[in-house]
């Protein structure tokens, strides 16, 4: 079997004396969408930040298609083929939409094919193309989220990490975001999706890990989406 696109093995992250992530194992195969849900403080965002090299890894390893990226700087991890859509979008509000996209291009491994990739992203997110010249801060929340995803995609990552992309968005806008994620999956990008919307994520992803207290408590399949009791039980396990 081929090496997983993303392989997190025995990951441990500590903030001082507190262990935020304890012995975490996650595997995401190429082209899969894997969900990661769990209560606040479970260690989901910390896991993503550890993968990106933004917080130090105490134990364990993180491999991209078999190659370890542990201990690398965030900027080199981005160049190894991982992009993060951070929590709260973190777009550059005072920059134009186009400048935000140009910043996304910084993390590319190859300068070839930029035009094609931009075309692809603009097709996925027409709004990003339409408002190219506007300050990004003037976009609505949903549009900003689309921009944040577009900005991550133009780096042409093998693995896309999303940290609560539906956070703070109106229900209809959440639909748009999930629709976009479906389209991204069709393009063969490997996705690790951290979400608060448990049922929706379980139904959407190929597999969903439930995380609590820094550990994986349960793995759910799309068929489990209707089983609210099981999801709730996993949260409080």
């Amino acid at each position: 079997m081929a090496e997983p696109a993303l392989d997190v093995e025995g990951l441990e992250v500590r903030y001082g004396a507190v262990a935020a992530v304890r012995g975490l194992n996650i595997q995401v195969q190429t082209g899969e969408i894997v969900g990661l849900i769990g209560p606040n403080g479970a260690g989901k965002s910390t896991t993503l930040h550890a993968i990106m090299g933004a917080v130090p890894v105490r134990h364990g390893d993180i491999r991209l298609a078999g190659r370890s990226i542990r201990g690398k700087k965030p900027e080199s991890i981005t160049r190894s083929g991982v992009s993060l859509v951070p929590e709260g979008r973190r777009i550059f509000a005072e920059f134009t939409v186009e400048e935000n996209i140009r910043l996304g291009l910084v993390g590319r491994r190859s300068q070839a094919g930029i035009a094609t990739d931009l075309e692809w992203v603009y097709e996925l997110f027409p709004v990003v193309h339409r408002y190219a010249g506007r300050p990004a801060g003037t976009l609505s929340g949903g549009e900003q989220q689309q921009l944040a995803i577009a900005r991550a995609l133009v780096a042409r990552p093998d693995v896309l990490l999303l940290d609560e992309p539906s956070l703070g968005l109106a229900p209809q806008v959440v639909d748009t975001v999930f629709q976009v994620l479906r389209q991204i999956r069709e393009c063969g990008v490997t996705v690790l999706l951290v979400e608060q919307r448990a049922q929706r994520t379980v139904a959407f992803a190929d597999r969903t890990y439930v995380m609590s207290n820094g550990e994986i408590r349960m793995t759910l399949a799309p068929a489990d989406a209707g089983d609210t009791d099981r999801i709730v039980a996993a949260y409080f396990a």
Partner: protein, 307 residues
């Protein structure tokens, strides 16, 4: 007519301070570091000019540029490990570097026994004045205003139109997110110190023309005033910081021209203009900081959360 002359000189001083301010604010933007040692860059540049009087002026200026840029990059390297330290630690570290460089200059200064400093003669011809009507304008004032305008325009173009400029702006706005997007921290910091160094070298040349005797505390007082100016303008934006520099320089020039001159021959106050001047300027600074603590030119209202 003397009013016009005073205004022109004030614009010149404003231009000089604006150049210093933008160099300080650029480094602050990417490092969140108030570089107190900026004045010593100017001092070392001025010494580089003074020690190369015998060389052709162009070569002398190039030596100054090389020395200041090298020193600025070295400062950058020295500060990188402190990037995650508290602002107080970083400020104290810049004090330490500032005093170290001053002490080095002082050691060599006392050894050479030059009581009024080492004269730097580069471009001294620019001190000549030309006259329009009854207004006397020194060439250096025009050169100052022109150079500042060109430098600021070039910097604006660099930041707005180039990829490295965009990356510097991104790093200044949100360093963590910029790195997550692939912006290389070391490269951006080095570039900021490089540009800041080039600006310091330009300031050193312009400053030396007006104040040719170089001493170990050269540029120190001006740096302190500009550091204050940058805070008054609003340190977290290049534009506001630069405007702050210009405003303080302009105000200093203006009040310097209009306040009463030497006191003793007119009466009982043994004060010089300079004493009034600093009092007035810093009184204004206090007023501004009381009324607009975010900076004189800061925008009102914070960012808006969009849903």
């Amino acid at each position: 007519m003397t009013q016009i002359q005073t205004v022109i000189d004030a614009v010149g001083l404003g231009a000089l301070y604006a150049l210093m301010a933008v160099g300080i604010a650029l480094v602050f933007g990417v490092m969140r570091l108030v570089n107190f040692a900026y004045g010593q860059l100017i001092m070392f540049g001025a010494y580089a000019l003074a020690f190369t009087n015998s060389l052709p002026e162009g070569v002398s200026i190039l030596v100054c540029l090389a020395v200041v840029v090298a020193l600025s990059l070295a400062m950058g390297v020295a500060f990188i490990p402190l990037r995650r330290a508290s602002p107080a630690t970083m400020l104290v570290a810049t004090f330490a570097i500032s005093f170290l460089l001053q002490s080095i200059a002082l050691l060599s200064y006392s050894y050479r026994n030059k009581p009024i400093g080492d004269p730097a003669l580069v471009l001294s011809g620019l001190n000549k004045a030309f006259t329009i009507g009854s207004v006397h304008v020194r060439w250096i004032t025009l050169v100052l205003i022109g150079t500042a305008a060109v430098c600021l325009a070039a910097l604006a173009l660099l930041l707005e139109r180039t990829d490295i400029g965009l990356q510097i702006r991104a790093a200044a706005a949100d360093f963590q997110t910029a790195r997550l997007l692939g912006v290389q921290a070391g490269r951006v910091i080095a570039f900021a110190f490089l540009v800041s160094g080039v600006l310091a070298a330009i300031v050193a040349v312009l400053f030396v023309v007006q104040t040719p005797f170089v001493t170990p505390d050269y540029g120190l007082k001006e740096t302190i005033i500009v550091l204050v100016a940058v805070v008054v303008g609003g340190i977290d934006r290049l534009t506001t910081a630069t405007l702050g520099g210009f405003a303080i320089g302009f105000a200093t020039g203006l009040f310097g021209g209009f306040l009463p001159g030497q006191g003793p021959e007119q009466g009982s106050f043994p004060f010089t203009t300079r004493v009034y001047l600093d009092s007035v300027i810093f009184l204004l600074v206090i007023l501004v900081l009381l009324l607009r603590p975010g900076g004189l030119f800061a925008r009102r209202g914070g960012p808006v959360e969009r849903v």
